[in-house]
């Protein structure tokens, strides 16, 4: 565990997961301008949809990731249409929106708990493992890193080359001006909520396949994901690319330090908290802006 190559690889894996999970959050946060705490439950929901498809006889990882991504995207779309858009149309302040998102999160989490049980479940798959450069690697981790890289490249092209990407950036920078230039900001926002949540669903599947799945899964990684988003600068996708790597490194080196100090590795979340506090005090707008 404590050899350098393994720690670096673990950092890359953690970073990829945070990148997948954080992208949707940073895009919707930048566009709708409020932190959606129910995002944690989008991740959990994706993990459970993945579990459901894995239980089928034809289940495999690509099918699980794909179906989880789609299902979570639609869940997010429904949440946006039913809960958040009516509130925003009534000019609700930040705090009511945040309270609503926490409430929505509870509804989803408890619904999942009732549907699938509160006990920890597992995908019951064994991933082929091999050793490379002195580190232990499994095929799942390679898929995770590959997915994270592919999504980043894809999103870069979406944001820079396509019309909808330009519209997203315009709406995030100045909604009124975007509206007057003929951009349908409603549709752009709904599209972003959908795309963001698909990545959350995929992240949930990878997290669950790597460890276990339980209804608190998303909530447990929400704090580092928020730390990533804030460190990268809210709404900044390129900042997130860097901050996910930084947080992955910080967390895994933190675990090594914790083990050296003889402390419980439960404290690893404290690393993300320290990063969050430091960023907010030293550079509240993040590194990407």
């Amino acid at each position: 565990m404590s050899n350098a190559a393994q720690v670096l690889l673990n950092s890359l894996i953690t970073g990829s997961l945070y990148l997948l999970a954080g992208t949707g959050l940073t895009l919707t946060y930048g566009l709708s301008r409020f932190p959606n705490f129910a995002y944690a439950e989008f991740i959990t929901f994706g993990a459970y949809i993945g579990y459901f498809t894995m239980q089928q006889p034809t289940g495999s990882l690509p099918i699980a990731v794909g179906s989880a991504a789609l299902a979570t995207g639609f869940l997010s779309l429904v949440a946006y249409r039913v809960v958040f858009r009516p509130l925003m149309n009534r000019r609700a302040g930040l705090i009511p929106l945040m309270v609503a998102s926490i409430g929505l999160g509870y509804v989803i989490r408890y619904a999942i708990g009732e549907c699938w049980s509160w006990a920890a479940l597992s995908y019951q798959r064994l991933w082929p493992a091999f050793a490379a450069a002195g580190a232990h690697v499994t095929l799942l981790w390679l898929y995770l890193i590959l997915t994270a890289v592919a999504t980043s490249v894809g999103l870069h092209f979406l944001l820079v080359r396509t019309k909808i990407g330009k519209a997203i950036r315009a709406t995030a920078t100045n909604p009124e001006l975007a509206e007057t230039s003929g951009i349908n900001t409603e549709r752009v926002t709904a599209f972003t909520w959908f795309v963001g949540a698909t990545l959350a669903g995929a992240a949930g599947v990878f997290r669950a396949a790597d460890t276990q799945l339980y209804p608190m899964l998303g909530w447990d990684i929400l704090l580092p994901v928020f730390a990533c988003v804030v460190l990268g600068g809210i709404g900044s996708f390129y900042g997130l690319l860097l901050s996910a790597v930084i947080l992955g490194l910080a967390e895994n080196f933190g675990v090594v330090l914790l083990q050296a100090a003889g402390l419980s590795t439960e404290y690893r979340m404290a690393v993300a908290f320290v990063v969050l506090i430091l960023v907010l005090i030293l550079r509240p707008r993040g590194i990407g802006r």
């Binding site: 409020f34 932190p35 705490f37 930040l94 705090i95 945040m98 926490i102 006990a119 920890a120 597992s122 019951q124 064994l126 276990q212 909530w219 704090l223 928020f226 730390a227 804030v230 419980s264 590795t265 439960e266 404290y267 979340m269 404290a270 993300a272 908290f273 969050l276 506090i277 907010l280 005090i281 509240p284």
Partner: protein
Amino acid sequence: MDPVYYLEDTLVFAGIFILLTLSLNIEYGFTRLGNFGKVAFFMVGAYTYALLGRLGFPFYLSLTGSTLVAATIGLIISLPALRLREDYLAIVTLSFGEILRLIIKAQEGIAGGVKEAVRRVRESMPHTLKVEVEAESLAQVEEALAAGADVIMLDNMPLKTMREAVRCGSTGALLQTKSPVRGLKPSRMSSSKPRACPVANKKPRKGIETRK
């Protein structure tokens, strides 16, 4: 149920929540600061009170002590938090509550308890293997169940305790004994839920000390 007891219980809970909402009202109502980590201070109060009570402090002293500790932590948190934007403040307070919960969770037992041990074992092994925990009493069986052990070894237990253990463990884990149980057939022990708890009359394996 006794109506007086029911009423009393409800009033006690109402009182607790009145105190909580008063506290939230001072912050959000008067100063518009959204504190999403209120539960953290609630928890600090509860734990301080319990710890002081265990040390033998009287009720009113424990109460005052726990309010003071919670207030001090609130003061420390407010120093960086008050300069933040509304949404950042929410994220920080929410995370603070979460961190405190994790720290207290990690503190159970001196080295983290059975739960931590099981978790660490799981982290370093493929999930096709099973985790076995030995238990010598009912409380330990329950602890092992809560920790998520797959197999619980009922070690050196009297027959009566073992029956109880089968009853409470029948849905969670596979139960094992080290030596054959005399006077009790496996089928009888697992009669309530035959699927979940066959008691394996394992012969002692090599290298494992047996007690007869």
